[in-house]
Amino acid sequence: MTPLVEVRNLKQYFPVKTGLFKTEYLKAVDDVSFYINEGETLGLVGESGCGKTTVGRTLLHLYEPTAGKILYQGTEVNEKNIHSMRQKMQMVFQDPYSSLDPRMTVEDIIGEPLDVHHLCSSKGERREKILHLMELVGLNAEHATRYAHEFSGGQRQRIGIARALAVNPKFIVCDEPVSALDVSIQAQVINMFEELQEKLGVAYLFIAHDLLVVHHISDRIAVMYLGKIVETGTADDVNYNSIHPYTCSLMSAVPIPDPDYTRSRKRIILQGDVPSPLHMPSGCPFRTRCNHACEKCAQEMPPLTDRGNGHMVACWVK
């Protein structure tokens, strides 16, 4: 079965001026490959600077990829077909306050994709579609003429989701969609994502740093560190049977809202800070903080190898 979306050897380097005439490259995404099947959710986790947001944006061609291929249903996505591809792949953004134009009404915000792709032949049809979308995300139809700033964070996020759904996409990149919301509202929005997936069969690339939420919503998870994927597998495998040292420490560092559980487990506390992506360590980027690093780790970047059941890990030692 061809996956819905496939990414092969994606690279995204940003030029950074480090001196008067010197330009170094910030390797935000360095040779990343993964796939997402239809109707599936792939969670992408990692800490700040790991490149997960860049992956999401490059996937939608908001940045021109430095190298690598992006395939949608087997067809390569490039400059020529990106406009029509935008009807199949959409994005929901993190900040509900800056991702909606404060001068536009809800109706116009949700209707913009319809206008850009000329999906409605009449004003009436457009209105109907917009109201249907609002209903789908749980917004009151009478709020269509209001302005974005009159809504709360959770409602704005729903508007953003309705906007993404307007073109009937099969794949949505969700870039930290609930991080800026209050805890009690996060559950509402997460449930909505799940319901929409059931109803419409949409696939998600769910980028977030809240590991509990990602575990809950994802079928599979990929863990990134300094622009590389270090581990990927089913959500349960990555969480409970983590193999890569970084994944292990990440999972043990997550505070669990369960006092007995959290106080009884052993914590792996990493020393030091994340190295700057401009001066990445040679070989495996994690070796500077890894307790199990060996000589080979400094020489060569380990490839992702299958440890069984599709559980891929990039590590020489484990």
């Binding site: 406009h83 993190q94 994709p113 850009v116 369960d258 007995d260």
Partner: protein, 361 residues
Amino acid sequence: MEKKDNTPKKSPLSLQLNLSKFNSYMFEKASEDEKRQQDVMSESTTFFKDGMRKLFKNPLAVGSIIVLSLIILIIIFAPLIVPYRYEEILSVNGIRDKGAKNLAPFTYSKMEQQYIEAGGSRFPHIFGTDEQCRDYFIRVVYGTRVSLIVGFFASIIVLIIGMLYGSISGYLGGKVDLIMMRIVDIIYSLPDMLIIILLSVVLQTILNFSPGSLLDSLGTNMISLFIVFGLLYWVGMARLIRGQILSIKQNEYILAAKSIGAPTSMIIRRHILPNCISVIIISTALQIPSAIFTESYLSFVGLGVQSPMPSLGSLANAARGGLQNYPYKLLFPALMICLIVLSFNLLGDGLRDAFDPKLKR
């Protein structure tokens, strides 16, 4: 959530409260309507309405609006009421009234007094008359007209050119922006007064207007003023717009529009320009007094509108000569300039406070 502990011992709640003060009605479930009372959404306001509301709360801004409205009403209606024309040398019964020179406000010349005693009626000279026996009030009114029109049109020119230039530079960014802004820097360094004077001299020799036309009555000085405004003064607006666009570009909704597939023209039209409007209005409001001031200054140094067309600056200039004897002649045009410039400045400030986009809700 799994209970790791067994349920708490029977709560001694009944010991803490007197349960007899409760009845079962109190513990009935509340209906949705009763709960909904809390969840009212505030009245819908657009950004514009909200800003206007704030503006009208500001007493200085409201004051300026009133003053400006009054001035505009006067300059529209005064010529209909006052029977004198601005270039008209006063005459009584067809005879030039030489004695009507430099009359004080509300006084009449000898000839006029005789005329009134003889039964005629004469509209009072509210501001008196000037050196050339012309009614001063109507001259001040016309002078205000000229100053306001000049100020207004100069601002429009600045706005259009500045907006186009700034938005292209800001949106495209990169090398284009770099080059365009260096051009702006060069223009900033040019001496505007010098260029106006030079241009005005050059135009005088080149252009020949048919006498009596609007352009002729404005004079080459004014034409050169407009040209120079168009060539030089738009740079401030361009920088402002460019800065505004640079900051708007950072917002995620621009990225969202790109991810939807909106073309550049649509993004500029739908997202960027509407968000600049408040800045545009504010800086235009502040640009008008600056243009009026420049015109007044030029007229004061003798480079203003051609006589007999008055402008506030030229009136002030003409009044310099007889300052000791007739101080009111300088007072009235100067006061008018001050009122207009102050009002526009206060209005501009008020608009900025009311529509400040940095105020997050």
